[in-house]
Assembly symmetry: C2
Homo-oligomer: 100 residues x 2
DNA sequence: AAAGTACTTTCCTTCTTGGAAAGTGAAACC
DNA sequence: GGTTTCACTTTCCAAGAAGGAAAGTACTTT
């Protein structure tokens, strides 16, 4: 039916949509935007990485560790396909998922 | 975050979107469109009814029993809100969930 | 009486999630 | 040097969701 089970969970949809908008996002930024705990984001990020949808990069800001997340090409494509599937479902109802 | 957990599950989203398009739909029609078994549709329909989102009407066609499902006003509103929430999330990514 | 129709319910097993808390490794503080 | 803190990660656990299979229900049809 086209919906991607890896992306469909509410938290993951939010993470992926957020990442789709940016090149890369910091772990802490995503955590705050999506409003989840460290552990929950960490788990979802790992799951998305395992699926090949997200690349996790570790580095430093000054001397402090920092983690960045970004959508892989595969993740971007999967997200687009997922949104298209949502669109197809919602379009059946006559709604358009478009603002205003 | 606005997504309605009752509606969000893939099968339920499909059911609700389908019902949103019509006045009423027959059980068998919905089952075939959504491609689930009798038991799965029956359970989801009951869950949606318990949430107050769907009205289940039983009647006959000739002498054979038949069940119709329809979105309640509350269900329609919840669906609209859910779609708006999806829209809000997806819009962040720059996508629009609009066809073409 | 037996079989079929149109679902409904129960049973059971699996998957997913989330919160809480402990763990890790490096850096900063006293 | 020992203790905290920071930035996550992992483990533990308990709860809820979901689906398939199969049995059940209430009639009707053959």
């Amino acid at each position: 039916m086209g919906l991607d089970p890896v992306i469909h969970a509410p938290v993951r949809l939010q993470i992926v949509a957020l990442l789709a908008a940016a090149e890369e996002a910091e772990f802490g930024f995503v955590r705050d935007q999506v409003e989840v705990s460290d552990s929950v984001l960490s788990k979802h990020a790992s799951a998305l990485e395992a699926a090949g949808y997200v690349d996790i990069r570790k580095g430093y800001v000054g001397k402090r560790p920092r983690t960045w997340l970004k959508l892989s090409a595969q993740g971007r494509q999967a997200y687009r396909a997922h949104v298209a599937a949502l669109q197809a479902i919602v379009a059946r109802s006559g709604l358009r998922l478009t603002p205003e």
